[in-house]
Amino acid sequence: MATAFSVPKFAAQPFNPISPTSQQKPLIFPTAASPFLGSTRKLLHLSSSSQLNLRRRSSGSVFAVSDIVKEKKSTSIPSLLITKEEGLELYEDMVLGRAFEDMCAQMYYRGKMFGFVHLYNGQEAISTGFIKLLKQQDSVVSTYRDHVHALSKGVPARAVMSELFGKTTGCCRGQGGSMHMFSSEHNLIGGFAFIGEGIPVATGAAFSSKYRREVLKEADCDHVTLAFFGDGTCNNGQFFECLNMAALWKLPIVFVVENNLWAIGMSHLRATSDPQIYKKGPAFGMPGVHVDGMDVLKVREVAKEAIARARRGEGPTLVECETYRFRGHSLADPDELRDPTEKAHYAARDPITALKKYLIENNLSGEAELKAIDKKIDELLEDAVEFADESPLPPRSQLLENVFADPKGFGIGPDGRYRCEDPKFTEGTAHV
């Protein structure tokens, strides 16, 4: 139930992320016995369940968590992983993410938004699974594929859509765009266009939290930061540098790798000497966890422990979520390199369908209720688009307003006055 999303091809054995394909004949894309599809390396077989103790605090442990979940299910009285309220919250959040991204695609092709737009379809389980566990004061740092992270963190759909349309009512006043979603109210610290760029910023946010607790003596400050990034980023120096610093100072941060196997057209296997990213955590002194990122409940279980660990002050965790993006890298990507079989395989593991099935099979909800949620989200999005359409474009006067927090930074003009005192400054026509 919780774990056995059996995929037609591998129906012969229950879905086991440690060695799903070992006994099957090779699939079209190159795999051998692989811990997850697409990898050519064997994973260490950790067969003894007693080794897979999530709560043991050794920093060297490397394990795939879904085995624990399976184990929990079989040894105890069948208990569900979520309550009805939680289930509906998760469902709604994922549907919001999916529908929003679909709407983005529509709007893009209608010429309402421009530039690079990177959609999150297929990866909703990660955003929902992690972010719904956070408090408002916890921080989230994302990449350019950030619309759904913003929505999960609580930024209103209207604000995100307006931002995409480049309107002044957007969450960043239209100045950031698709790749730069920020919200100080919801502690969403970006939105970064260059990969890896946000990871040090996330480390800094975590450092702030620790500083507040230990130097400023705000005893109850236990804010956690989540840093989301992809498989391509895991070959970047900033990733490794920050793993080191976070582990060194036991910063309250969780590094979440959204491994969707592709960095635009570069397969993870072609770019990475050791594709098992979670193994790189223990090299720096933190636990590395691999989880099925298409299953929101599994992600949630791992997230709970990783976030709790950070909150307790025990330091960072590296979580690798195996996931897939159903669309191309961006709306400009023709997506010709990926194998249709691979796409079909993951499409069958659609996280929303899976959760829906779980909710219905466990009598947590019914078709009607879920359809009502679908409809509610559709209406929400219609409203968001309408709001964005009707919002004003940024006026010229907005051009210079946020370049400096203290506009004296524009300097002193020839007449002796600060440039920002020049009325052309507020009109946006001054040349700085």
Binding site: I189, I199, S209, R212, L216, Q238, M245, N402, F404, G409
Partner: protein, 408 residues
């Protein structure tokens, strides 16, 4: 009060210590006596006195004293402070400024390589870790890009980090974070997050440090929108600029110079800051405006001594604010002398001098009697050999020749 260099007559002992110290065989700048400080009522001095004045309107009103620049007669009676002040070296002035700001605001913290237990490679953070703890004075691993980014993230979430590059050149590794995040995030977030960081470190050509340790990053960073750049040159303005930079809500890059850390000066005891956007009048004059900053200020003053003996009256301005330029001070000077010489240590191509030349031409072309001359370092990776290194940077003799040429 400011460390203002006097006209040559009164400062003979001063200049002799200068010329001795800039003897190329000496490895460390060690003046034999401290610079004597006369309190002058030039507008730059008035600005920097005592209290922070962040009210731009109030500031404009104080501009009216600009013509007091030429007065030499002000003695101790004109000084606004009766305290004698205390003498210290430039690196100690930086440390004092940093320490005072850390006391004043618990959110101010320092991060960098060897800033904590080692006390800083140029001793600017000496003693701070013992006093404030290892988290407030953080020894980072050697990962400039990431710890600069970490400082930026910390600044966005409420702290006020001072990030040290052990040598400014190392910050080339942090260019990604400085350009993309430090400069831009306030804007791309629509004003939601401020980034009150100070990025500082020693740069410039030292004594045979080799090409990579002799870089001048001000030219690379100047195009980044959203940051301010200042260069300190005396203990007085070092402390003042450090404090102003820490208190500023904008990201500020503070350029120090490897050879100036041991300059000694008497500075006031009371709290003061130096305005980040203003230039400093070093020596008023009539014949030619010489614009300079950082170490070249001293080469210029040495050349000024020779020039005065030859009958010239140069006006020397330490521009201090590399981005943005203080076009008011500079403009007033151009309008008075009609001739401009820029002396800088930056590279010829795309340096601060190049930008300054463009800015002056654009704004004050009508007031110029001659084309602007710009003396910069040559576009050469700084050689190790002392003789070669000496000729890559501008020397006083070149400055004298340039002024003579300009004033024909």
């Amino acid at each position: 009060m400011a460390a203002i260099f006097q006209g040559v007559g009164a400062a003979a002992p001063l200049s002799s210590s200068l010329s001795n110290s800039f003897d190329s065989n000496k490895s460390v700048f060690s003046p034999r006596r401290s610079f004597s400080v006369r309190k002058r009522a030039s507008f730059a001095v008035v600005r920097s006195d005592g209290i922070v004045n962040l009210n731009p309107n109030g500031r404009s009103a104080q501009r009216l004293v600009s013509n007091a620049v030429a007065t030499k007669a002000d003695g101790p009676a004109a000084s606004s402070s009766s305290k004698p002040g205390h003498e210290l070296l430039l690196f100690e002035a930086l440390q004092e400024g940093l320490e005072e700001e850390m006391e004043r605001d618990p959110r101010v913290c320092v991060m960098g390589e060897d800033v904590g237990h080692y006390g800083g490679s140029y001793k600017v953070t000496k003693g701070l870790a013992k006093r404030f703890g290892d988290l407030r004075v953080l020894d980072t691993p050697i990962a400039e890009n990431s710890f600069t980014g970490m400082g930026i993230g910390a600044a966005m979430t409420g702290l006020r980090p001072v990030i040290e590059g052990m040598n400014m050149g190392f910050l080339l590794l942090a260019f990604n974070q400085i350009s993309n995040n430090c400069g831009m995030l306030h804007y791309t977030s629509g004003g939601q997050f401020t980034i009150p960081v100070v990025i500082r470190g020693p740069g410039g050509v030292g004594r045979q440090l080799g090409a990579e340790h002799s870089q001048r990053l001000e030219s690379y960073f100047q195009s980044i929108p959203g940051i301010q750049m200042v260069a300190c040159s005396t203990p007085y303005n070092a402390k003042g600029l450090m404090k102003a930079a820490i208190r500023s809500e904008n990201p500020v890059i503070l350029f120090e110079h490897v050879l100036l850390y041991n300059l000694k000066e008497r500075i006031p005891d009371e709290d003061y800051i130096c305005n980040l956007e203003e230039a400093e009048m070093v020596r008023p004059g009539e014949h030619v405006t010489i614009l300079t900053y950082s170490r070249m200020r001293y080469h210029v003053m040495q050349a000024a001594k020779t020039l005065v003996n030859k009958g010239y009256d140069p006006e020397v301005i330490d521009i201090r604010s590399l981005k943005p330029f203080d076009l008011h001070t500079i403009g007033n000077s151009v309008k008075k002398t009609h001739r401009v010489l820029i002396v800088e240590e930056c590279m010829r191509t795309g340096g601060i001098g190049a930008s300054l030349t463009a800015a002056i031409t654009e704004n004050f072309n009508d007031y110029l009697d001659a084309p602007i001359m710009c003396l910069s370092s040559q576009d050469v990776p700084t050689p190790y050999a002392g003789t070669l290194e000496e000729v890559t940077v501008v020397q006083p003799a070149q400055i004298v020749t340039a002024v003579e040429q300009l004033c024909q």
